[in-house]
């Protein structure tokens, strides 16, 4: 017997939730309990009174599972709204990465040159290291990290994806 898997598509969700203890565990646990996958999850409060958090989730799912994910999230008591930004239309996705690169001589110069091409900023430096800050889509950051590996990359920190729909309408 073999176990088969359905074809999936990548979706970015914006989930507005009450900013209460345990909410992140509730959301993340729902995904593991029902066998949905999470590629990226970010969370921060977004209202003046810090009462509501916005959770951005990137997941891969078939259309059928996607419908379930939306409904399952929506029925959690502290959830205000669930929006599938991918289904909604054009949207902007950004991620921030911090990269520590160490080295001397030619590697160090090449690292700076590449950073310039990617419009990464130097936010810290020592005589034999840089910390670069880079913002962009996932592919851009993946590409930058891959290049930096060859010139002395020793540590990476990434935020995960945040996303917002284009246009004048708010969710």
């Amino acid at each position: 017997m073999h176990i088969t898997e359905e074809k999936t598509q990548r979706h970015t969700l914006a989930v507005m939730v009450d900013n209460e203890p345990g909410i992140l565990a509730r959301i993340a646990g729902l995904f593991t309990a029902r066998g949905y996958n999470i590629e990226s999850l970010t969370v921060s409060d977004v209202t003046a009174d810090q009462a509501v958090s916005r959770i951005t989730i990137v997941t891969s799912a078939s259309a059928h599972v996607m419908e379930q994910i939306m409904a399952q999230l929506d029925r959690l008591v502290p959830v205000h709204s669930v929006t599938d930004l991918t289904a909604l239309g054009p949207h902007v996705e950004r991620e921030l990465a911090l990269l520590k690169v160490s080295g001397h001589g030619e590697h160090r110069i090449e690292a700076l040159r590449l950073a310039d091409v990617f419009r990464a900023r130097v936010v810290d430096t020592t005589i034999n290291s840089f910390v670069f800050e880079l913002t962009g889509g996932r592919e851009k950051i993946d590409g930058f990290i891959a290049l930096m590996r060859q010139v002395g990359l020793c540590e990476v920190a990434r935020t995960g994806i945040v996303a917002i729909a284009r246009g004048d309408k708010a969710i």
Binding site: M1, G22, A25, H64, E67, Q68, A71, R75, V77
Partner: protein, 585 residues
């Protein structure tokens, strides 16, 4: 206004919410609450506490109380093992959508996270087996939290809610005023159906040639009026009615349009009608795997309407043509009203009923009888004969006896059938019967049990005795975990791995040890007298009814098979299955 302790706030709030019965077990982390309850009742309060013998039983008793009365069941247990023992019943209530509020004690806030004595991460453990849960760290928020918890447990799709209260919060003081009606900022279940969808549903029903009403536990949860409306919809449309395990009793078993239960152990006519229907109207059911059988062969010729209060139930297992998110009682009321307002004549379903008559003629629930040995199905029918005029409340454990009870005991109204459907929890029936008896003191309450399941919460014999609850236990004793053995016969060439109930107690003596009356029935000639003796005794009775040991429960749709592949008798069992079938539950 004076301040009160958290424990006093809790008890006062329970009083304000009309709570009459609490099922619980004391312990270190709930002592302030028990003291508050003691003082409340000493001062004329009327919250009855039922001391169970194991916290799991408290949750099932609360379920039995809730399912038979329509009111939420309330549980009070201590921290650590008190809470973890309650987890099975909480999960059971979640799966079967039973309104329940569970109050758990917790170590003081200052000790949380230190691996303190009897500390467990109760909100963490119960996060995914509750509809919602709370850890209350401020006594000033306790009152509102309790009212909100009851609102969430009882509205929308009902379910269990846990409130974890650290001991210092029970002792600390705050003000409490009874809040007004709850308007939750995010939780707003959709109760009324979209009217255009209702109109569309009515048009589909009026035009269908082979419609079927497939009903579930949602109708029971929607209250007795929903069952009345179902009968009315059935009457004006002429459509046949089938039900899931959880929905039995919503349409009377004696009704002319009743096809019996559907699904894995459903009747031939119910499953064939589902298979050949051109319209399925699913009312408060959820297309569970026990109902659908093999999904790609499920009801291939039908359009499907699904009424459910939980949007996540829609399109979860089966894609439907017309989803209606609403309380099924409201949706039924709307459908009946629109059907009548449009002056739809009763559809001509004569041809459809002719087909159904052909399937009914198979008499799929018939069973062969030989000699003096009691067939389990016969025992259930005899029990029905002797008791149905008193409209008893029947609870069950889980296994063959549960399916035989569902097949052979006819239910005429809602809230009379209490069983663990979704989770399938052995040990449910006795505590559920205790809860049902407390909610319905005058009713005849019978736990139809198996000899294996009953031992999972046998300690509750003492609870029934303590509160003088005249519950009856009717054990179909075949000395096997019968459903396990049946699957081993179906799948593993009758290799009976650990399915024999060895070293059984003498159930009659066991009953007597707890102060119960014990009766043994060993042959057909003793069956009616034994049942009569059970009913005559004005107190709790345990009946050890010895039945044919190797009987299996038919009809049956094996796991992963289509509705058309029903096994009607053991002669059709091959004894082996391929790996795909073996991997299914």
């Amino acid at each position: 206004m004076t301040e009160k302790s958290g424990a006093d706030i809790l008890i006062e709030a329970l009083g304000d919410l009309g709570v009459e019965v609490v099922f619980g077990y004391p312990g270190g982390a709930v002592l302030p609450i028990y003291d508050a309850l003691f003082r409340h009742n000493a001062a004329g309060g009327r919250i009855k506490h039922i001391l169970v013998r194991h916290e799991q039983a408290a949750t099932h008793a609360a379920e039995g109380y809730a399912r038979s009365t329509g009111k939420p069941g309330v549980v009070l247990v201590t921290s650590g093992p008190g809470a973890t023992n309650a987890v099975t019943g909480i999960t059971d209530a979640l799966m079967d959508s039973i309104p329940m509020v569970v109050i758990t004690g917790q170590v003081p806030t200052t000790l949380i996270g230190t691996d303190a004595f009897q500390e467990a991460d109760t909100v963490g453990i119960t996060r995914h087996c509750t509809k919602h849960n709370y850890l209350v760290k401020d006594p000033a928020k306790l009152g509102n939290t309790i009212h909100e918890a009851f609102h969430i447990a009882t509205s929308g799709r009902p379910g269990p809610v846990v409130i974890d209260i650290p001991k210092d919060v029970q002792v600390a003081t705050a003000r409490y005023t009874k809040p007004g009606p709850i308007r939750h900022k995010t939780y707003r279940p959709q109760v009324k159906a979209d009217q255009s969808a209702i109109e569309q549903a009515v048009d589909m029903l009026a035009a269908a040639e082979r419609p079927i009403l497939y009903t579930g536990g949602g109708i029971i949860n929607a209250g007795p009026a929903a069952s009345q409306l179902l009968c009315e919809l059935a009457r004006i449309t002429g459509a046949p009615v089938t039900s899931t395990l959880m929905g039995l009793g919503a349409y009377p078993a004696s009704g002319p349009q009743w096809l019996g239960m559907l699904g894995m152990h459903g009747t031939y006519e119910a499953n064939l009608a589902m298979n050949k229907a051109d319209l399925i109207v699913c009312l408060g059911a959820r297309f569970d795997d026990r109902v659908t059988g093999r999904l790609d062969a499920f009801s291939p010729y039908s359009r499907k309407i699904h009424v459910d209060i939980d949007r996540s139930s829609i399109n979860k297992n089966v894609r439907v043509d017309l989803p209606i998110v609403a309380d099924v009682g409201h949706a039924l009321e709307d459908m009946v009203r629109v059907f009548k307002a449009r002056r739809h004549p009763k559809p001509d379903l004569a041809e459809w009923w002719r087909m159904i008559a052909g399937w009914r003629a198979v008499k799929s629930l018939d069973f062969a009888e030989t000699g003096s040995e009691i067939m389990p199905q016969r025992a259930i029918r005899a029990l029905w004969e002797a008791t149905h005029k008193r409209s008893p409340i029947i609870t069950t454990e889980v296994g063959q006896h549960q399916m035989w009870a569902a097949q052979h005991f006819g239910f005429e109204g809602p809230n009379k059938w209490l069983t663990s459907g979704g989770l399938g929890t052995m040990g449910y029936g006795l505590p559920a019967a205790i809860g049902a008896q407390l909610g319905n003191p005058k009713a005849l309450v019978i736990d139809i049990a198996g000899e294996a399941s009953i031992q999972m919460n046998i300690q509750e014999l003492a609870t029934a005795m303590q509160y003088r609850l005249p519950v009856k236990i009717f054990i179909l004793n075949n000395e096997y975990m019968g459903m396990v053995r049946q699957w081993q016969e179906l799948t593993y060439s009758s290799r009976y791995a650990e399915s024999y109930s060895d070293t059984l107690p003498d159930f009659v003596k066991l009953a007597e040890a707890y102060g119960w009356k014990g009766i043994r029935i060993e042959g057909n000639d003793q069956l009616d007298d034994g049942i009569a003796a059970m009913l005559d005794h004005d107190g709790p009775v345990l009946v050890d009814c010895r039945v044919a040991k190797l009987t299996n429960c038919f009809p049956m749709i094996p796991s992963g098979a289509a509705h058309t592949d029903m096994l009607l008798a053991s002669s059709e069992v091959s004894g082996e299955m391929d790996d795909e079938a073996k991997a299914l539950v």
